[in-house]
C-alpha cells in the first residue's frame, strides 16, 4: 500500500479524467450527462485518495513524507520531486474537496459547454494539488502558472457580462507577479545549483541578495493573497466568475500566496523576512481595515464577499509573519477556514443568483419567509465568517490575534478592529437579504434549497463546525512541521520543542 505513488496518483488522476471526458462523443444531452458523471466520479475518487494521504501521514515527523523523486531535466539537477508535510497536507485536502464541491455546484447552473467546463475544473485540480505537493522550484512554478490557463478560461467563457475584462485583469496581474518570482528562482538556482526546495531551505543567502529575492517573491505572492494594494483584480474576478469559479478562487487560489510565504519566504530568506515584517504588517492592517470599510459600502453581494476575503487574508499574512507557532498555526487554520467559509458564501450567493439572476443586495429581502433552509445555511457561514466561537473562523482568528499580541500589541489592536468591522458588514448583509418583509414581487415564488445544493453545502457545514469544535484534529498534524519551519526561519532555537503548545493553549 505504501509503495503506491500516492501523491502522483492524486495529482494526475484528475488529468486522466479530463482526458477521458474529452473522448466522449455523441448527442449533446448525453455527452453533458456523461461528462458530469465522469467529473464527479474522478473528483470523488481523487478526494478519497487524498484522504489516504492524511491516513498515511505520520504526525511526529517534521520533514516531507510520501516523497517521490524522478529525474526530469537531465544535467540540470532539476527533478520531479513531490512530498507533503503538515503545512501542505490540509491544503491538498482543501483542493480536492473544493473541486468536488465545485462540480456539485455546477450540476444544474452550467448549461453551455458542459464538457469543456468539467475538463477545465479537472485540469485545474491537477495543477492545484501539484502546487502544494511540488518540492522542486521549477515544478512548483509550472503548476503555479498553469493554474492561470483553466481559470482564465473559466472566467472568460462562463462568466458574467464583463467577463473578458476581468479575465484579462486577473491573468495579467498574476502573471506579472509570477515572472519576477521566476527570476528569483533562477537566481537561487544559480547560487546553489539546485532547485530542490528542501535543499534550498537549508541554504543561506547573502542578506542583500535575500532582500531582492524576497521582494521578487513578494511581488508574486502578494498578488495571489491578495494584499492591499495589489487586490484590485480580486473583486472583478469574483464578480464575473461563475459561482464555481468564485468558489475555487476563494477556496484554493488565494491560499497559494500564503502557502508561498510559508514555504519559501520564511525558511529560505529568514533575514529578509525579519527585515520586511513591518511592511507586511502595515499592508495587512491597511487591508483589514480599509477593505472592511469598502465592503460596508458594496451593493453587490459577490463584491462584498470578495472584499471580505481580502480582509480575512490580511489576518492570514499577519499570522504568518508573527513567526511564532501560535500565529502560524492560526494563519494556516484561518486559510483553511476562509477556504471553506468564503467558498460557501459564494455558493450562497450562487443559489439566489441561479434563481433570479441578480446579485444586487437591494433586489432581495425577507428571503427567510420563502427559504428557511437557505437562511439557516447562510447564517451559519455568515457567523463563521464573522468568527463566532464554535466555528472555524473563530479558531483561526483568535490564534492569530494571540500570536500577534505576543509580538506587537498595536498590530493586534488594529487587526481586532478589522474583525469588529467584519461583523458589521456581514450582519448587515444578512439583515438586508434574509430578514424583513417579503414585499418584492419577484421574490414571491422563489424556491428553497434543492437536494444537489444541500449535498454541496453539507461537507462544508460539517467541516466548519468540526474545525471550530475540535481544532486539535487539524492542529496536531501541522505542529511538528510548523516548529521545523520556525527553526529554519531562525525564530525558534533548535532545541526548544514548542510542539503542541498552540493546541494546548486552546484547550
Amino acid at each position: 500500500m505504501s509503495d503506491w505513488p500516492l501523491l502522483s496518483l492524486v495529482i494526475f488522476l484528475p488529468l486522466a479524467g479530463a482526458g477521458f471526458i474529452l473522448l466522449i462523443r455523441g448527442e449533446e444531452e448525453v455527452v453533458n450527462q456523461n461528462a458530469k458523471a465522469i467529473a464527479l466520479w474522478t473528483a470523488g475518487i481523487t478526494f478519497l485518495l487524498s484522504l489516504m494521504i492524511w491516513g498515511n501521514f505520520d504526525y511526529t515527523r517534521s520533514d516531507f513524507q510520501l516523497v517521490e523523486r524522478i529525474e526530469w531535466l537531465p544535467g540540470l539537477n532539476i527533478n520531479y520531486h513531490v512530498g507533503v508535510d503538515g503545512i501542505s497536507l490540509f491544503l491538498i485536502l482543501l483542493s480536492t474537496l473544493t473541486t468536488l464541491v465545485c462540480i456539485g455546484v455546477s450540476w444544474e447552473s452550467v448549461q453551455v459547454r458542459v464538457k469543456e467546463y468539467m475538463v477545465a475544473f479537472l485540469v485545474m485540480e491537477t495543477f492545484m494539488v501539484g502546487v502544494f505537493c511540488a518540492l522542486d522550484f521549477v515544478l512548483f512554478y509550472i503548476f503555479f502558472e498553469g493554474i492561470l490557463i483553466p481559470m482564465f478560461l473559466i472566467i472568460g467563457i462562463w462568466g458574467g457580462p464583463r467577463r473578458v475584462y476581468s479575465a484579462f485583469k486577473f491573468f495579467l496581474y498574476t502573471l506579472l507577479g509570477s515572472v519576477l518570482f521566476l527570476v528569483a528562482i533562477l537566481v537561487m538556482y544559480l547560487q546553489e545549483g539546485t532547485t530542490d526546495i528542501p535543499t534550498l531551505m537549508t541554504a543561506t543567502f547573502d542578506p542583500t541578495l535575500q532582500n531582492w529575492l524576497w521582494l521578487a517573491m513578494f511581488a508574486s505572492f502578494a498578488v495571489k493573497v491578495p494584499m492591499w494594494p495589489f487586490h484590485t483584480w480580486l473583486p472583478d474576478a469574483h464578480v464575473e466568475a461563475p459561482t464555481a469559479g468564485s468558489v475555487v478562487l476563494a477556496g484554493v487560489l488565494l491560499k497559494l500566496g500564503g502557502y508561498g510565504f510559508l514555504r519559501f519566504s520564511l525558511p529560505m530568506l529568514p533575514e529578509a523576512t525579519a527585515y520586511f515584517t513591518p511592511l507586511v504588517y502595515t499592508l495587512s492592517i491597511v487591508a483589514v481595515i480599509y477593505t472592511s470599510l469598502v465592503a460596508l459600502m458594496q451593493t453587490d453581494m459577490k463584491k462584498l464577499i470578495a472584499y471580505s476575503s481580502v480582509a480575512h487574508m490580511g489576518i492570514v499574512t499577519i499570522g504568518i509573519f508573527t513567526l511564532n507557532p501560535l500565529g502560524i498555526q492560526g494563519s494556516i487554520i484561518q486559510m483553511l477556514s476562509h477556504g471553506l467559509v468564503s467558498a460557501a458564501l459564494f455558493m450562497c450567493v450562487g443559489v439566489v443568483y441561479d434563481r433570479l439572476h441578480s446579485r444586487d443586495i437591494d433586489y432581495y429581502g425577507g428571503l427567510v419567509h420563502r427559504m428557511p433552509g437557505y437562511a439557516l445555511v447562510f447564517m451559519l457561514f455568515m457567523l463563521a465568517s464573522v468568527g463566532l466561537p464554535g466555528t472555524s473562523g473563530f479558531v483561526g482568528e483568535i490564534m492569530v490575534l494571540i500570536g500577534v499580541f505576543q509580538v506587537n500589541q498595536w498590530v493586534a489592536l488594529f487587526a481586532a478592529t478589522g474583525m469588529v468591522l467584519g461583523a458589521a458588514y456581514m450582519l448587515w448583509l444578512y439583515r438586508r437579504v434574509i430578514f424583513g418583509d417579503l414585499t418584492k414581487e419577484h421574490l414571491l415564488m422563489i424556491r428553497d434549497l434543492r437536494p444537489h445544493e444541500i449535498a454541496s453545502f453539507a461537507p462544508l457545514i460539517i467541516l466548519v463546525l468540526l474545525m471550530g469544535i475540535y481544532p486539535a484534529l487539524f492542529l496536531d498534524p501541522m505542529a511538528a512541521s510548523v516548529d521545523h519551519l520556525l527553526t529554519q526561519a531562525g525564530a525558534l532555537p533548535e532545541t526548544e520543542l514548542a510542539g503542541g503548545q498552540a493546541g494546548e493553549a486552546l484547550r
Binding site: 484579462f168 502573471l175 527570476v183 533562477l186
Partner: protein
C-alpha cells in the same frame, strides 16, 4: 594537405545531394506534361529528398570536418541546426501544394526555389569564412525574394517581394561592407584565422581595434536583418502579410534557424574571446526586439502581421541567450530555436487551415466562435498561443526558462527582468486570440473541413508542445551535445 581538402566532398554530402535533386526536379517539372499536377508530384519528391538529407545529417559523422580549403565546416552544432532546417522546410513543403492549388498559382518552380534556398541555409550553417558566409546568405536570399512574389498577379505579393528584395539587398551590402572592414583590419577571411589573429595572446589586453569593431557592427546589422531583429525588422510585417501564407510560414521557420546558426558561429568563433565587445550590441538588439515584438503586436488585427511581430519578439528572446556569451547561452538558444520552430510551424498550419467559403481568412476577428464549431482545432490554436506566450507547462515556457537562466548565469539580471516583463506584455495579445476564439460568438462560421496535411502538422506540433514537459531530455540532450561541439 590543402589539395586533399579540396576534393573531400564527404562533409558536404547533404548539400551536394540536395542541389542535384533540385536541378533534376527542375528538368522533370519542365519536361512533364502540363496537364498533370506537376507541383504536387515535384514537391512530394522534394520532401522525400529532404527526408533522405535529414537521414544523412542525423546518421552521418558528427565529428568536426573542414573542406573546400577551409571554407566549409561540419560539426555536431551544424548537424543539429541542419536537422531543424530540413524539418522546417519539409513541413512547409507539405503544407504548400494544397494552398497554391486553391489559389491557382500551382507551379512546380516553387519547390525547386525552396530547395535552392534550403541549400543556401545549410551552407550558412556550415560557413567557416566570411566569403562562404556571404555566398550562402545570397543563395538563401535570392530564391526567397522570388518565392515572396510568387503570387505575381496579386499586388500585395509583388509589393512584398519587391520590398523584401530592396531591403534585403541593402542589408547584404551592409554585411559585405562589414566583411571588407574586418578583412582590411585583420588580413584574413576564415573564421579560425580571425580567431587566431584576434586571440588575446596575440594582441594583448587591449581592444581589437576600432576598425574591426565597426566591421563587426556592420556584420551584426546584416545578420539582424536576416533574423528580423529590431532595428532591422521593418520589412517583416509587410512581407509576412503580403506573401502567400505558405511562403510566410517558410520565411518564419527555417531561414531564422539558419540565420541564428550563422549568428552564433560568427559571434562565438572568430569573436568568441571578445564577448565584452559585442555583448552590448546583442543586448540592445535583444531588448529592442522583445519590447517591440510585445507592444507593436497589441494593435494588430491581421493574424499574419501579428505573427510577424511575435516572431520579432521571439528572436529577441533567443538573443537573450546569445547575449550571455557562454556555452550555457548557446545551449539555451539551441533549445529555444527548436521549440520556436515547432510553435511556428504549428501556428502557421492553423493559419493555412482557416478558410471561409473556400477563401483564406487572415483577420483575427474571423476566429470568433471557433471553439464552438471546431473545439479541437481551437484547442490546438490555444495550445500554440499559450506556448508562444511562455505559459508553463507548455514547451514555450522551457525555451524562455533556459534563455533567462543563461542570462542570469552570465550576470545579465536586468536583461532577464526586462525579458520576463516583455513576455507578460506579449501574453496579452496571445490571449486575445484565445479570448476571441473561446469567448466571442459569430454568425458567419469558418469552413468545417481542415485539409488533412494541416491537421497532421498542427496535431503533431500541438502534441509536441503539450508533451514536451514529460520527456524534455529527448531534445535537451541533442541541444547540449550540439552546443558542446561548438566549444571543443
Amino acid at each position: 594537405m590543402m589539395g586533399l581538402d579540396m576534393f573531400d566532398l564527404a562533409p558536404a554530402m547533404t548539400e551536394i545531394f540536395l542541389i542535384c535533386v533540385a536541378l533534376a526536379l527542375l528538368m522533370l517539372g519542365a519536361f512533364r506534361d502540363e496537364e498533370q499536377d506537376s507541383h504536387r508530384f515535384v514537391s512530394s519528391l522534394a520532401i522525400m529528398a529532404l527526408m533522405v538529407s535529414l537521414f544523412i545529417v542525423l546518421m552521418g559523422d558528427k565529428s568536426r570536418a573542414v573542406t573546400f580549403s577551409g571554407l566549409f565546416i561540419t560539426d555536431g552544432f551544424a548537424a543539429y541546426m541542419k536537422a531543424l532546417v530540413l524539418i522546417g522546410v519539409a513541413v512547409c513543403l507539405v503544407m504548400t501544394p494544397g494552398y497554391f492549388q486553391k489559389e491557382n498559382v500551382n507551379r512546380f518552380e516553387y519547390t525547386v526555389l525552396a530547395l535552392f534556398a534550403t541549400v543556401g541555409m545549410l551552407m550558412m550553417i556550415s560557413a567557416n569564412s566570411l566569403i562562404s558566409l556571404y555566398v550562402a546568405l545570397e543563395l538563401q536570399s535570392l530564391p526567397l525574394y522570388v518565392m515572396t512574389a510568387f503570387h505575381r498577379d496579386r499586388l500585395r505579393a509583388s509589393e512584398a517581394g519587391l520590398k523584401y528584395f530592396v531591403l534585403g539587398a541593402l542589408a547584404s551590402g551592409i554585411l559585405l561592407y562589414g566583411c571588407t572592414l574586418v578583412y582590411g583590419f585583420t588580413g584574413t577571411l576564415s573564421f579560425p584565422g580571425l580567431a587566431e589573429v584576434l586571440s588575446p595572446e596575440k594582441i594583448g589586453e587591449g581592444t581589437i581595434g576600432i576598425g574591426v569593431v565597426i566591421g563587426l557592427v556592420f556584420v551584426a546589422a546584416g545578420l539582424a536583418f536576416k533574423l528580423a531583429a529590431v532595428p532591422f525588422h521593418m520589412w517583416t510585417p509587410d512581407v509576412y502579410e503580403g506573401a502567400p501564407t505558405p511562403v510566410t510560414a517558410f520565411l518564419a521557420a527555417a531561414p531564422k534557424v539558419a540565420a541564428m546558426a550563422l549568428t552564433i558561429r560568427v559571434f562565438y568563433q572568430p569573436f568568441g574571446d571578445w564577448a565584452s565587445q559585442w555583448q552590448q550590441i546583442v543586448v540592445f538588439i535583444s531588448i529592442a526586439s522583445m519590447l517591440l515584438g510585445a507592444f507593436a503586436a497589441i494593435g494588430q488585427s491581421n493574424l499574419k502581421r501579428l505573427l510577424a511581430y511575435s516572431g520579432i519578439g521571439h528572436i529577441g528572446f533567443a538573443l537573450v541567450g546569445l547575449a550571455a556569451g557562454t556555452e550555457q547561452g548557446v545551449y539555451s538558444v539551441l533549445v529555444y530555436i527548436a521549440i520556436y520552430l515547432t510553435m511556428t510551424l504549428g501556428v502557421f498550419a492553423c493559419v493555412l487551415a482557416l478558410r471561409r467559403n473556400g477563401a483564406p481568412v487572415e483577420q483575427i476577428d474571423d476566429l470568433a466562435g471557433l471553439a464552438k464549431q471546431q473545439p479541437l482545432f481551437a484547442a490546438a490554436i490555444a495550445v500554440f498561443m499559450f506556448s508562444l506566450a511562455g505559459i508553463p507547462p507548455l514547451a514555450g515556457f522551457f525555451g524562455k526558462f533556459y534563455v533567462f537562466m543563461a542570462a542570469v548565469d552570465a550576470g545579465l539580471v536586468p536583461l532577464a527582468i526586462i525579458g520576463v516583463l516583455a513576455s507578460v506584455v506579449g501574453a496579452y495579445y496571445y490571449r486575445r486570440i484565445v479570448k476571441i476564439m473561446f469567448f466571442d460568438e459569430t454568425l458567419d462560421p469558418l469552413d468545417q473541413s481542415i485539409g488533412g496535411e494541416y491537421s497532421i502538422v498542427l496535431g503533431i506540433a500541438a502534441i509536441f508542445n503539450l508533451a514536451f514537459c514529460l520527456r524534455p531530455g529527448l531534445l535537451l540532450g541533442h541541444a547540449e551535445r550540439a552546443a558542446l561541439a561548438l566549444f571543443t
